[in-house]
Amino acid sequence: MMTSNSLVYLIALPLAGAVILLLSGRRSDKWGHLLATALSASSFFVGLYQLSLMLDRTNEERPITQKLFEWISVGTFKIDAGLLLDQLSICFVLLITGVGTLIHIYSISYMSHDPDRRRFFAFLNLFIASMLLLVLGDSYLNLYVGWEGVGLASYLLIGFWNQKPAYATASKKAFVMNRIGDMGLSFAIMIAFATMGTVSFTGVKAAAEQTSTAALTGIGIMLLVAATGKSAQFPLQAWLGDAMAGPTPVSALIHAATMVTAGVYLITRSNFIFDAAPTAQLLVVIVGAITLMFGALIGTAKDDIKKALAASTMSQIGYMILGAGLGPVGYAFAIMHLLTHGFFKAGMFLGAGSVMHGMNDEVNMRKYGALRKFMPITFITFGLGYLAILGVPPFAGFYSKDMIIETAFNAGGIKGIILGTVTLLGAGITAFYMTRVMILTFTGTSRWDEEAHPHESPWLMWLPMAILAVGSVTSGYLLSSGDALVNWLSPLFEDHGEHEELLSPIIVSTLALTMVAIGIAFAFIKYSLNEVDEVAPSDVSIFTKIARQDLMQDRFNEAVFMRPGQVLTEVLVKTDEVVIDGAVRGVGRAALGSGASLRGIQSGFVRSYAMLILIGAVALVAAIWVVVQ
């Protein structure tokens, strides 16, 4: 494999930005955001440069590595701080730095009134650096550093306005649930080291063939746990909705386009493990299928525009995970959907941010309406993203999502039929809730608060939205024309030959579009033809109520983990005080007590002392009496 010494700049540039901005304090308030944006952009250009170099090389020579220094070396546990840039990671590098830079630009204006804007940019840079480390690390442990680094950045950014207790709680929740996932990653690394003696990607890949299926299944399941944490998949999905507490650019970058897709990256990167562990792979598919329905159902009931989009993100990542779980045929499509989703979902989030910007930070869609006329650019960019997510040809989602649906149907047997049906249903529901968002926000009559004066956002904000919209329109075609992405990535994945086709692409597309049309029709009937209440109606079906509460996920977590955990904690605290420390203090008290009671003998009266002597003498004589026979 070729080595390079310029990979480190990808990470070092944004990391330097974070460090400079955090250490310089208020001195850099004036220019900090510009520096951060410039560094993020330069990292993007380094990525483009690397891509151009990579395109010049043959398939086999494309991956390049860089060893920075020896990080940990104990016995056989040798981890270098090493970077690996291959066909897979370059996709992510460009997505992260590209979308990241756009969001930096957007934030300059979006955050211009916030006194802590410098800190915000520092965190954004920290996030970019961590995310790049995540995708560039050449071993699972290096990935782990980035993995937790993005968790930290996400925590800091969700809690950016942590003076509000609810936001602070949301950030804590995100971090803790992520940590549960991280624990899975730790387990995976431990099992890998114990069974294969290495944790580098190349090493594990080489050893995977000789490793027992049981161990690989263990690693696979643990990697899946890690992925569910970071990517907000079932059953660790509950944090994503609350994560919307962060500023909207954060939701766009971290909780839509990049960080939450890290799970997909992890599974795709570990393809050699999942390919050899069918059970783990099946679990991946199941998790993806459950989550895509889960997210979609939540999305139908949310009135908060950001939470609706968050539910949609969860659902779309479910698609990706499902795709990645389908094996070699699915990896490329999962990545493709990841990239197109990066564009359209980021664009839509930025649009949502733009709407909020114009509506005094109102997030309730029931208080929107008829914004089309006041925010034409936002409407158009958001609309393009909408068409993309629905999968309307020729927009981006059409290429990526339909491929996943098709692959799902072709997975074979009853599994294929179930998965295909689920993905199709998901597409229909997606169409329903996204149309609902569109109608409630941009059409119909205005239901604004009195103070609201909707207006279009400044160019610094709409420019990134426009660029992303272009991406939403074209990326699908570009990536799939001539199977560009599939071929690009194919050296990384083992090809197991073509599956038999259950349904032809045409039929799948037709079915999908039909479902989408039905979804749109439902939404149109319900929200466009009928009046929309300004306050969410309470006389709704039990299903709507459950969906509004995120399908009871928080209630479940509280009832099953949090409350018993709190009770356990309190019981243990009491136990420690009463039983363990009680025993310690009991020893002390026993000593004191026996002293106090024996002190009674020391009455101070000479005669009682004499009495004791007499008793002693009696005892002595008695002893003689017994002993001397």
Binding site: Q602, S603, G604, F605, V606, R607, A610, M611, A617
Partner: protein, 99 residues
């Protein structure tokens, strides 16, 4: 005449002396009881001297008497001193060891 009879008497006198030390409160009486115990011991020594047929026991008894005399002298001096400061010859009143 069985010499052991003296030993029985000695044991009884000693016991009475011991009880006296414990139950009487007047320091002088307590002292007399101590003397009684010493004398009881002396009686035993003398008896053993007779039983064993040598004079060692008598010599020991003689020493005991000397020591007892010393003890009485010092003890009574102490009683006088205590009496002078506390106006009481009751051993119960000298209970400062308690605190």
């Amino acid at each position: 005449m069985n010499a052991a009879n003296y030993l029985y008497l000695s044991a009884l006198l000693f016991t009475i002396g011991a009880v006296g030390v414990v139950v009487r409160r007047n320091a002088i009486v307590v002292f007399m009881c101590v003397e009684l115990m010493l004398n009881a011991a002396n009686l035993s020594f003398v008896t053993f001297s007779r039983i064993n047929g040598d004079l060692n026991g008598q010599v020991i008894a003689f020493f005991t008497m000397v020591v007892a005399a010393c003890e009485v002298v010092v003890g009574l001096a102490i009683i006088v001193t205590i009496y002078r400061s506390r106006r009481s010859a009751s051993v119960d009143d000298a209970s400062l060891l308690k605190r």
